[in-house]
């Protein structure tokens, strides 16, 4: 890493370290179950009337708490109906207004894939943003899905926390959690984020394409669109889907070095804050700090490896191409990267978001060096917990913490307990199902694509890099990340359908299982802490948890990594 890289990374770490605790405090105040004498939560005067209006329209009682089964059913029914609505919008966009690029309705398989992709927060984009989606589909379809995907994640995390730590059999009201998440977190922060981006040069208009007479003759089409408003919730909601095909590499989405770092902060600060909120909600801030320590170490590891690899450059290029960074040249592996970001700024933003379900990129992952690409891949395979999606990161790491407690308990011969509640066979069955579902789907569909002609015929790069292209696609969508080794031509019926199914399983199986685990612990007896209780907030446990994450995430996929990026680096 060079000085620029260290300074940029240092800036990200410092701002996150300041903002995440403040935001975590705000979140805890906003979502804590309140009694009359608690006093108002911040912003109640603005938010409460809005929320009450929504509850009245929906005719729901926000105080009627649900069992985990009802909560899960509400999530699934809402997910199903939102997917249907989005599917209809995408199919019909050709005859709907606000369509300056004259995008025709998407095909049934592409609509299926895209609708699921945005409802699950994956934002895998098998379509070309500029020409295949209308402004209406972007605004009223995809952006709404980006808001709800984020809010559903946070709502489920809140319910899981109530189940794991609370004393009631019931785990909260889904509609209230959803409404409060949107009103108090995602909408206000998105407006703010969008305006910051516009001030730097991100576009926000409805003019469609303008034709410019280029300086050297000929013409150039200049795109428009409500870009910044989508960009803000794309990042803040850890979604990752952009108006333009190349996402954050496009100068109209990510115009300056400042927006590049701002984009990364929009992605990672909130998931860190949600973990810190957990500490406050359960009244054990040390517990949250232990989780944050594990998350931060993993985040720094994959991000810094990628920054160094991209700065070092592609060793296969002829020596007469200067990849050495200097005061006048960014150097490094510049294929698929923008000059203003340079190799380390690009890797920082792109691989920095890979441990979240955003998978937002400002450069072409397919052209990353094998080591840089592998860093991004590993961040996904470890289960999206560094720092994870909004909400998903928290319930993800909590499940892994429960698994670690169980393994550690067996090793020292004590009854495993977390936050005073015993972890027994019913919980362990659900936890193992949670951990295994995604690898099974990824490896089955990935292997099928490697041997079937419908799978391999979509490859741009062959050999070991091709294996990475395919397996990365399934791992990315299964974890609802959505970033791509984009050489793969993914808009074919085979990929549209199998990737769509993978996204559905990767989103809703963990949600239902996490709620089931929480439900099975909800209302369970809380045992007092004794000297014999395993300390889950200390350094030992944090290190142990890190080990479990690497074994569970890393070893399942290790053969895939050997045949893919590691092999490419050694043989290439």
């Amino acid at each position: 890493m060079n000085a620029t890289g260290w300074e940029q990374l240092g800036f990200i770490v410092a701002v996150t370290a300041v903002l995440a605790p403040l935001l975590g405090k705000y979140l805890a105040a906003a979502f804590r179950a309140r009694s009359a004498d608690d006093g108002p939560a911040p912003g109640d005067r603005i938010f409460l009337p809005v929320e009450r209006l929504v509850y009245r329209t929906l005719r729901v009682n926000p105080d009627s708490s649900m069992t985990w089964q009802v909560y899960a059913i509400a999530v699934l029914v809402f997910g199903l109906l939102s997917t249907l609505l989005l599917y209809l919008i995408l199919r019909l966009q050709g005859v709907l207004p606000l369509n300056p690029a004259r995008a025709p309705g998407m095909s049934p398989t592409l609509s299926f894939n895209t609708a699921i992709s945005f409802i699950t927060g994956t934002n895998w984009q098998a379509y070309e943003g500029e020409t295949q989606a209308s402004y209406l589909a972007d605004m009223a379809g995809l952006v709404v899905a980006q808001f709800t995907a984020a809010a559903v994640g946070l709502a489920v995390a809140l319910a899981v926390v109530r189940g794991i730590a609370g004393s009631s059999r019931r785990i909260g009201n889904f509609w209230a959690d959803l409404t409060r998440s949107l009103a108090r977190v995602f909408v206000p922060l998105s407006v703010l984020g969008a305006l910051v981006m516009v001030s730097q040069g991100a576009v926000q208009n409805f003019t469609g394409f303008r034709t410019a007479a280029a300086l050297a003759g000929g013409t150039q089409q200049i795109p428009g669109g409500p870009v910044a408003s989508m960009e803000a919730i794309k990042l803040l909601g850890t979604n990752g889907g952009s108006m333009y095909g190349v996402g954050g590499a496009h100068p109209f989405e990510n115009p300056t070095g400042f927006t590049n770092l701002f984009d990364l902060l929009l992605v990672i600060v909130l998931p860190f804050a949600i973990v810190l909120m957990f500490g406050r909600l359960i009244g054990r801030r040390k517990q949250a700090l232990a989780l944050v320590a594990v998350i931060a170490v993993i985040f720094l590891a994959h991000t810094m490896v990628a920054m160094q690899a991209e700065l070092h450059g592609n060793h296969l290029l002829p020596s007469s191409v200067s990849q050495i960074a200097s005061g006048t040249s960014p150097g490094g592996n510049m294929e698929g990267k923008e000059a203003r970001f340079g190799p380390s700024g690009s890797a920082l933003m792109t691989v920095g978001t890979m441990g979240t379900t955003a998978g937002a990129t400002d450069s072409a992952l397919d052209s990353y060096t094998p080591v840089g690409g592998a860093a991004s891949f590993v961040a996904i395979l470890l289960g999206e917990i560094s720092p994870g999606g909004d909400g998903g990161g928290l319930y993800g790491i909590l499940v892994l913490a429960l698994l670690s407690v169980f393994v550690a308990g067996l090793m020292v011969g004590r009854t495993p307990e977390f936050l005073g509640k015993k972890i027994r066979a019913p919980q362990m069955k659900l936890i193992v199902a949670y951990v295994l579902t995604i690898p099974v789907v990824v490896l089955v569909f990935g292997s099928m694509s490697l041997v079937l002609n419908v799978g391999t015929s979509s490859l741009l790069n062959h050999g070991m890099h091709g294996l990475t292209e395919i397996t990365y696609a399934y791992a990315s969508v299964a974890q609802n990340n959505g970033s791509a080794f984009a050489g793969l031509s993914a808009n074919t019926p085979w990929y549209d359908i199998t990737l769509g199914i993978t996204m559905l399983v990767g989103r809703f199986a963990p949600i239902v299982l996490a709620l089931a685990i929480a439900g099975s612990l909800a209302g369970a007896r809380v045992h007092a802490r004794t000297r014999a209780t395993l300390d889950t907030a200390g350094l030992t446990f944090a290190g142990f948890l890190g080990g479990v994450i690497i074994i569970v995430g890393g070893l399942i996929y290790f053969p895939m990594l050997i045949l893919g990026p590691i092999g490419e680096r050694i043989v290439g």
Partner: protein, 199 residues
């Protein structure tokens, strides 16, 4: 199934989707557009650049400086290679993997052409950004080293002293933003418009 209230949850879902489509699908982008157009009119509309009252392009989007046959014009600074030929109706990177022979061959070929076009010695080191396709295909910038390599050639084509064009490169170098947030770069459209204005 009835005891979980599936129908009830479905009705609430539909009502909520209606509310959210109105509030977030239309209200939110319109509010952001309104404020942006009011306070950041220039940026929100694409940082458009005009010359003699005609729309020439955007300060944020690169464009090609070639003749009708696609050959680079020597009197202009040349932008980075683009996977979409600077077509603003699309965007894209090459997506070629680091070990793909197609990529390695085209980089060697571009390096050879770059040296010939800019009258550099046959083994001169070429800046990486000059021979690699950008992430967006619309990269507006080139590195300072790339611009300095091109300056004498652009000066010769315009019968200007090289020192004058080199000075222009330094004048049009922007960044690093706030000292560390971006790489120092030269905006190709801006410096080429300045070149046209010299004489």
């Amino acid at each position: 199934m009835l005891r979980y209230g599936i129908v009830r949850q479905g009705v609430v879902s539909i009502a909520l989707l209606a509310v959210l489509t109105l509030a977030l699908g239309f209200g939110y982008p319109l509010v952001v557009t309104g404020i942006s157009q009011l306070f950041f009119h220039h940026q929100a509309n694409g940082s458009l650049v005009y010359s003699n009252g005609k729309l020439t392009g955007s300060a944020l989007l690169g464009q090609s400086f070639t003749d009708a046959k696609g050959n680079p014009l020597p009197q202009y600074f040349q932008p980075r290679p683009s996977a979409v030929d600077y077509n603003g109706a699309g965007s894209g990177a090459s997506n070629l993997g680091p070990s793909n022979p197609v990529l390695l061959n085209s980089i060697s070929e571009r390096a050879r052409a770059y040296r010939a076009f800019n009258h550099l010695p046959p083994n001169a080191a070429v800046p990486a950004d000059a021979v690699t396709a950008s992430g967006s295909g619309l990269d507006p910038d080139i590195s300072v080293a790339n611009a300095l390599d091109q300056a004498p050639r652009a000066a010769a084509a315009r019968h200007l002293p090289a020192a004058r064009v080199i000075a222009l490169v330094h004048q049009y170098t922007t960044g690093p933003q706030l000292g560390f947030m971006s790489e120092p770069v030269v905006n190709v459209l801006a410096i080429n418009m300045a070149l046209d204005g010299l004489r």
